[in-house]
Every structure is written in C-alpha cells, then in structure tokens.
Symmetry: none
Subunit: 222 residues, 4 copies
DNA sequence: CATGAATGAGTGTTCATTCAT
DNA sequence: TATGAATGAACACTCATTCAT
C-alpha cells in the first residue's frame, strides 16, 4: 500500500506556498527553492506536482481566482440590486487581508502577462467572467431604478476600471488609500452612476432618497 | 583635454534602451546585456553610468515620467475647463504609441514596486504630481460649471483610477479595448461626473447644454 | 507463508527493462524512473532487487552476454570447421534484431567502462570467453585445412576486431553498412585468412619465400 | 581598447580542457564545472565561447579530428605504397599518448552518437574522410604490387574495422593489448592482404580457382 | 513485496557585476 | 571612456536514492 497522499490537496498546498512567497518576496524574488521552503517541503517535491515553475504560478493564480469567485457568489447570494453590486465590489477591493493577497498576486502577474500569452489569456477569461456577473447585477439595479440607464457594459467597464485602479493605489500607497477610503471612493463612484446622478442643486430630496445607506455624496469634506 | 562625453545624454540613451528592451521582452526578459545590445554599446559601458541595473530601470522610469509631464503640459496649455481635463486624460491613455510604451513600462514596474520601496516612492511621487495637476483642471471645470460639484480630489482619484484601469485593459486585451473604445469609456465617465449627471429623459434641457461636446449619451448602441 | 516472488525472475525482468530503455533512449537518457516505467513497475521497486542503478546496468549486461552465449553455442553446436566459425561470427554481428540490441548495449557501456573498473572487468571476462571459443573453432578449421596456418590467437584477435569494428559501423551508419554488407565484409576477411589466401597464380615464388612458418619474424620491420 | 583575447584560441583552450576532463573522468563525469576547473577558468566563461555543453563536446571532437588529420598527413607525406598505408594506421592506433587520448574521446562519443544525430553525422563524415584517404593509399600499394587485388574499399573497410577493434581492446584491456601487440596485430592483418597472401606453396591450384577476379560474387551465399 | 512521495545534491545555464586593457 | 572577458552566485530543473505506508 502506497503512502496515501491527496495529490490535488498537495498541489494546492504548494501553489498556496508559492502565492505566499510572491506576496512576501515579490514575483521576481520567488524562486522554486523559496516556494519549497515556504511549503515546508524540499525543493525536489515540486517536480512531482508541477511540470515547471510557470505551472505553479498559474495554479496559484487559479486558486486565487477560484477563491474570489466563491467568496463573491456567497456574499452576493442573498442580496439584490445595488446592494448586491456594492457587496460584490467590496469583496473584490483590497480592504481585507485575503483580497489584498489576491490583488497582490494579480498585480504581480500583470507585468508578466504583458509578454506571456498563456498568462494573459487566463487573466482575460477571469476578467470577462467577473464583468459578466457584474453586468447582471447592474441590470438588476437598473431595473429596480437604483442605477442610471447607461448601457450595463459601460457601467461594468467603468466600475471594473475604478476597482482595479483603486486596488493598485491601495497596494502601492496603503497609507493614502486605506480600507475606509477605498470604500468611500467606491461609493463616490456609485453616486455618479446612480439614478438621479450626483447633482442635487438643493440636495435635500436626492440625499433623503439614499435611505438606508449610511452616507451621502456631500458627507465628506467641505 | 580629455574626451568630452555628455554624461547625462549617454545616461539617457542607455536608460531609453532599457525602456525599449522592457517593452520588447518584458521586465524579466530585460538583462543588462540586452540593454547594452539595444543601446548599441557594449555591456561594460553600463557600469560607467549606473551603479546597478535597478538604477537603470529607475532612470528609464524617470525619463518616461518626464516625457509624460512635458507632453501633458504642452497639450493642456492652451485649453481650459473640461476640454483641458479631457485632453490631459487622452494624452495619458495608451491610445498612441508613446503612451502605450509609457503604460507598458509603468505596469512592468508595478510588480516590483510592491516589494521595492525606492521604486514605489518614485511612482508615488509622480502619481501625486499628476493628481494635483488633475485637481487643478477639475476645479477649473467646476468653476465653469462643466463638472458636478463633487470634491475635486474625489473626482481626481476616480478619474485616475478609471484611466489606470482602462490602461491595463488596453495593454492586456488590446483586441477588446482599442483606441476608440478607451476614449468612449473615458467620455462615459465624464458623462457621469458632468454637471447635470447622466440622467436623460426628463433632463432634456440639461443634456442640451452639452451643446458643443461632440458626443451624446445615446451615441453608442445601434 | 509469505508471498512467493521469484526474486531472480523479477531481477531479470527489471534488468531487461533497463536494456530496452538504453536501446530506446541511450544510456544517458536511461533514468531509474524510465527503467521502472519500461518494466511496468513503480520506481520504488528497483530498490528491492538492486543496490544501485549501476548494478541494474551490470545485470542487463550480464543478461545480454548470457543470451549471446547461449545463442552462439546452439548455433555452432552441429557445425564444424570454418562453417562453425562463420556461423559464430554471424550470430554476433548486428544483422538481426537481437544482436543489434546486444551491440547497442555493449557500445553504450564502452564509454563508461573506460573509467569504471568493475564494468570493464565484466566486459573483459566475456570478451576473453568468446575469444577462447573462437580460437577453438579456428583450430578446428585449420585442422581441416580451411584456414591459413597463422597462430589461432592472431586470427581470433583480428576476427574479433573486424567484428567489433563492423558492428560499430553497422550501428552508427546503418545506411552504409546493412545486413548484407556486414556479412560480405566478414567473408572478405575470411577470404584473406583462408588457406590459399586471396592470391592467385603467378605469385608462387614470392609466396614460397614466406617459407613453412606461418609468419616470419622479418615481416615487420622496425 | 578591450582586453585582447584570441577568441578562437580560448575556445580551443576550453574544448581541450573538456577533452582532458573526458579522458580523466569519463564523458558522464565531465560536468561543465569540471571542464571550467580543468581549464583554470570559472564556470561562467564557458557561456562566452559555447552555446551549450554539447557544443563544447563537439568542438573537442573537431579538435581531435583536426589533430589526427594533420598528424596523419604529415606522417604519410613522404612515404609511398604499403609503407604509407602502414604509417597511417600506426598514427591512428592508440600506441602513443596522443592517439590514446583521441581514441578515448572517440569511444566516449560512440555511446552518445547512437542516440544523437548531430554527433553521429560528425563522426560519420570524419570516418568517411579517413576511409577515402585510406583507399587512395591502398590503391597505391596495389599498383606497386604490395597488396592483394581486392577491391580497395573492401580492404579499407576491413582495415578500419581492425584498427577500431584493436583500439577498443587497447583502451579497455591495456595489459593485454600493449603498444607492441597492437602493431603486431596490424602487421598480421597486412600479411593477410599482402600480395602473395599468407599461404605458401602447395595451395596453388586451390588459389588459382579463385580466378583473376580477386573475389567472386558467387563465393558467398549458398 | 510494492508503491510513489519525498529528499537534496547536482546539473547545465543565466546574468549582474567587476575589471584589465 | 569603452570594451568585452571573466566571475561566481543563483536559477530552474533532474534524478538516484530513501522510506513510510
């Protein structure tokens, strides 16, 4: 009887060690030996589970994507309309430890994706997947009159771009873009695409329409 | 008299070769030998002008930033209000060869900046500089009633984020985010932060105020 | 009672797998994993039957030698004189699949034998064994007047050398040294050592100068 | 002014170090680090002069072949007939230090050549070259009546085979095949192909049955 | 006995850096 | 100053071997 090892679990274990190493030391600083060390196994073990270093990194990316996916779907499940959309975004923004790690991994890969076709196509397919989910939520929010009547794809692209942009700032300049600020900026963006727009004039009615939501567009700064 | 060599010019020449190499082969594929080859000099020459490879890369980044700066200022100079702001954005978006190269370089550096303090601080200072310029233009546009009365910093951050996000998409998925689409999405964003908001139907008068602007909210979708 | 496994049979099975691997992938390309795969067993099984990889290779060589031995003896059994000698040679020359495999294995080992005492001594003992058998057959052929009266060892060494040389050519340059050519060249060699020699007619006197002694001390000049 | 190095000379120096390493430690034991050490340089130098280890080994082989070629031609230059042919053979046989090293290298390569097309083709072309030279010398010797009238190619192939076979024995079993023995066996072979053959006197009729043609097509094959 | 996971030294190769010319 | 040869540590990957199951 052979030593019993769950091959898939071990693969995952190693890929997660790779992910940790990337977050700690950067993608360039992540050598196969370091991945092995991080995993607690010897360097030779990698060969049993992966064809190459690139394959490990891709697997780490897949695991990250799967995790994001599951978390998003669970978070959004019992929500509807703009609330669901906002929840989606907050799950993706690097405001908690896990999405910070996910964003770190993703950004690390962008540099390589620029010159690596396979990597780029993996990122593209995930990117599309999320934008589709986003569009569905946007359409819902529009139906309930919570979002302006722009084309859903337009809102989805802008929202994605805002999220990606903010994510970069959060990771590169964490002192300037903290958890609270990120969410505020997200909400600022939502304000601009809400039905009724940003523009109050007298602000009273529009603001009161916010209802449950804790914040108003004018809340911040004089 | 010793041979006169313009030290700064040579430095720049080498750093630009590094930049070209990064765009061609990726940051990982950019070895010092490749930089030397790209520059037309021998590999040994690098040591005369730079302490290390990292310094070359930093210099390339500085040169890129300087170029962006000059181009932006020249483009914006004789414009005012929203027009100036929009021009600024279009100069930065990767819609022409030069900004594509700049974005490529910038993205390549992000991965390293995550774990490299010096690199990160260089990027941070440039990032701040542009946001300040942006804020000035935003304030101008608000004064002329072209932009909604959100806090300028808020608009600046969101606009920056949109631009960075769209830039990423343009470089990673050029087939889906071509030159025209980028500008359309930029304008879509402007629509959301314009005085009067995105809202049509009952907003006919406000919309008609758009007047001079070449595009309408309904322009897309066949 | 413990499970009964024919230890020797399994050893042989594994060594033959090694042999096949060597012929397919070369000695350098033959890893222990490849041997295991070729055998149909797991890589770990090798340790139960061999102390080391070297031992497997030695066993493969022994098996090859044993096979050659048996085949030769069977082929020669009911033959006599030059016919027996020629049969011996043809069994050894790489003209059929099996001797090709044997020659391949042998040649693969030469490189290592040059710096590996144990391997060399295995090859030496086999080499001697065959030369002794050859000498016996040569003496027979001489007795029946089919071979010239050179010292049997001389003929044996030359014949061995011719066979080994031709074998190399056959394996390295199979398009130039096909099955038929090999045997022709062998027979050409036999012609030269046959009683009567290659030589005709008018050379009687010159030949007679050679005298009764099969070879003269003056033949070689210093 | 750059450091002046004769690139070709350094290449040769390194290839010769590789050759020495192969003779000392075997082809398998010859790592690039060992080659570097043997050369007296650091391991990194190899990359300046060779694309890969294989290229170093091929260069070593080429150098060996060139050396053999020059030595042979010089030795044969002022000789004629059988004397020239014999000189040729003695230059090639591993009876002096240099041909021993050449033979060692050659044998080491055989194993790889079996599964390496490029290596095999290099060996083949050299092999052919020498056989052609050999044939020319054989024809000369036949014209002067010193060699039997067999087809020159036949003699060349047999002689080559004898030399290669003897060379193997000399390297693998140096105690049994010393310098003197090798030359004796070579001369024994020459005896068999000399005009007049090995055989005297009483065999005239049998010999004459062979007819004018040195060998008959029907002699072989039953 | 058989398995295959695990090991870790070793491989060929790369590359930023140094430095004699 | 410019060259390119030289360095040696580091890299991803390989593989004979060990060993728990």
């Amino acid at each position: 009887m052979p030593r019993v090892v769950d091959h898939e679990a071990r693969r995952r274990e190693l890929a997660e060690a790779a992910w940790r190493a990337i977050v700690k030391y950067g993608l360039d600083g992540t050598t196969t030996r370091l991945i092995a060390k991080e995993s607690g196994y010897s360097n030779g073990v990698l060969a049993h589970y992966f064809e190459s270093k690139d394959e490990i990194l891709l697997e780490a990316l897949r695991i990250s994507h799967d995790g994001i996916d599951k978390r998003i779907r669970a978070a959004v499940e019992d929500k509807i309309g703009l609330d669901a959309l906002r929840t989606f975004c907050i799950e993706v923004l690097p405001v908690a430890e896990q999405p910070v790690r996910e964003t770190h991994l993703e950004m690390s890969m962008w540099s390589r994706a620029l010159v690596n076709d396979e990597l780029r196509s993996v990122q593209r397919s995930e990117s599309s997947r999320w934008r589709r989910l986003m569009e569905r939520l946007i359409i819902d929010a529009q139906r309930s009159g919570e979002l302006a009547e722009m084309p859903p794809r337009t809102i989805a692209v802008l929202l994605s771009a805002v999220i990606d942009g903010l994510s970069i700032y959060a990771l590169l300049y964490p002192d300037r873009f903290g958890k609270a600020e990120l969410i505020e900026f997200l909400d600022d963006f939502f304000d601009t695409v809400k039905a009724g727009g940003v523009e109050p004039v007298t602000k009273t009615l529009a603001a009161s329409a916010d209802g449950a939501r804790p914040r108003t567009g004018s809340r911040r700064r004089k």
